[in-house]
Amino acid sequence: MRATTGYTENHPRWLRRRKSTYWWLERVSYLVFILRELSSVFVAWTVAFLLLLVHAVSQGDNSYRQFLSWSASPAVLLLNLTSLFFVVFHATTWFRLAPQAMVVHVRGRRLPGAWIAASNYLLWALATASVAWLLLGD
């Protein structure tokens, strides 16, 4: 006698249609989704750029100035402007999702999504101001 029960299990083949590699071109909302995820590449570039800055600063005043003028060259400037667009895009889409990802309960009632979003934007403003003050103030 087998250890398992006597009947055979019924596993019909799942219906899985093959998706075209270009499925994301079929609708604007799909394309926007892919662009949002592609912002990750520009996040990585921005980190690399900032590390280059750290390296330049460690090497001395001259190399710092050279880094600044290198950043002004058209190719780098264009890359950074594109990255800026995607980084801001990442931030806004991320904050738009925040109310759905963060569910906060106060005294048994759920905080409205608008509050979560607002607190994120507030934090964003604070972070921006702090960084600006830290770097520019003296």
């Binding site: 995820e37 912002s39 990750s40 590449v41 921005t46 710092y64 931030a91």
Partner: protein
């Protein structure tokens, strides 16, 4: 894992825009005068700043790698290259973090 991803996303969303605006556009274009070298050096040389910057870079890189891996998976449907893509994405993030650690350690 998701907490790493989320933390990286939040930090990147909060801090990257202003950093990129300043160092990518405003300072190179001369629209705002850049901080003096000594000031910048004193800011990033501070131990707390180094630790924070390292965590910030590492988390943002992990976030980006994670997202990019799934973009390739979902977008291009290349399931058969899964292991290779994982290795490239997370490997890249780890290498980047190691570079960040090294550079931040070496700030005078």
């Amino acid at each position: 894992m998701w907490l790493l991803f989320s933390a990286g996303g939040v930090l990147a969303a909060l801090l990257l825009p202003i950093l990129l605006v300043l160092f990518g556009v405003l300072f190179p274009m001369g629209w705002l005068s850049p901080p003096s070298h000594e000031h910048l050096l004193s800011v990033i040389g501070h131990p707390l700043a180094r630790v924070f910057l390292f965590a910030f870079c590492a988390l943002s890189l992990v976030h980006g790698a994670h997202r990019f891996r799934y973009t390739l998976y979902d977008g291009l449907q290349i399931k058969h290259l899964n292991e290779f893509v994982n290795f490239l994405c997370y490997g890249g993030a780890i290498v980047g973090s190691a570079v960040a650690a090294y550079l931040l350690w070496r700030v005078p």
